[in-house]
Amino acid sequence: MRSIRLPGMYLREEDLRKLVGVIEYTPRARYSYSAGQALSEFLRGLREGRILGRLCPSCNRVLVPPRVYCEHCYTQTTEWVEVPGTGRVESVVVSYIGTARERLEKPEIIAVIRLDAPGYGRDSFDFAGLFHKLCGVTEDDVKSGRVIGLRVKPRWKPLELRTGSILDIECFEPEVVESERA
């Protein structure tokens, strides 16, 4: 295969503009996703400023986000449990780009939060967790590696602005503000 010229005709953006027979098409693919039993309750909880999980009766793990089944034990979860919302930063990054790869004016800090709730199995490979933005830390904090392991808590939007969405949590923020600690 090495020496043969491979098929494929490369087009630069400007070549494309010169071509005839190019078709432009605007797609329309709209949905109304049913949140279902578990997530509907979870979203209602967020509106009330509570983070709700489901208890697995088999492994005693609390599932956040909640589902009606524990995927490891494959049993139905039985009870709603409110978790405190506090936890530790499991991983954290700084995003300089938006959804369509455009540069952001102000970088965003994104984290995986391991919540204070029982996880699955002894090594806790699976834990109750959320994926959200992080406030109250700087880019440099993140890059220095100091943020992983940091204790955090949710910062809620004012009650009147909450809509029953994951965005009812504005972000997670350090439990102890740096200046207070000093």
């Binding site: 087009l11 005839v20 605007t26 949140a35 509907s40």
Partner: protein, 152 residues
């Protein structure tokens, strides 16, 4: 579920969403580029596969050999047709659309297009020919053909 399911519609949340990029820009392809140039010229292309000619022109034949691109000529005949009165949401059209699969008489395959005739007159085997848009409006797409019209 051992917890009773909530059953009131107001207890369940529905979240709006989509899968939409701003737009898709489809390149015409190798055969499609030749076809596009021909359409602008007011011509139609097929490919020769063995002793048959298939329309529209593609890069390859059903046996996977590369086809030789050839021009096809009128007249065309209606191989299959339908009339669209309503869309999938149940909205009636103001003017029904007569859609047909038309193929050049001596070729296989064909193209899907509008046929301009009375609904009573459309039938299988009807002989038709393409009516092209004015040259300056052609863009190398099958819509460069405005419709097919019945041959006298």
């Amino acid at each position: 579920m051992s917890v009773p399911k909530k059953f009131r519609l107001e207890d369940t949340i529905h979240v709006k969403g989509k899968i939409e990029v701003e737009k898709y820009v489809y390149t015409p392809g190798v055969a499609g580029l030749k076809l596009a140039e021909a359409l602008i010229d007011g011509r139609m292309l097929g490919i020769r596969c063995g002793d048959k000619i298939l329309v529209p022109a593609k890069l390859y034949c059903p046996d996977f050999t590369q086809g030789e691109i050839v021009e096809v000529k009128d007249p065309w005949i209606v191989e299959a047709y339908t009339v669209i009165y309503e869309d999938m949401y149940g909205r009636r059209l103001e003017k029904p659309q007569i859609i047909a699969l038309v193929r050049p008489e001596n070729s296989l395959g064909g193209i899907i297009h509008y046929v301009k005739t009375d609904i009573e007159k459309i039938r299988l085997g009807l002989r038709v020919k393409p009516v092209f848009k004015p040259r300056e409006e052609r863009r190398g797409l099958i819509t460069d053909i405005e419709y097919f019209e019945q041959l006298e």
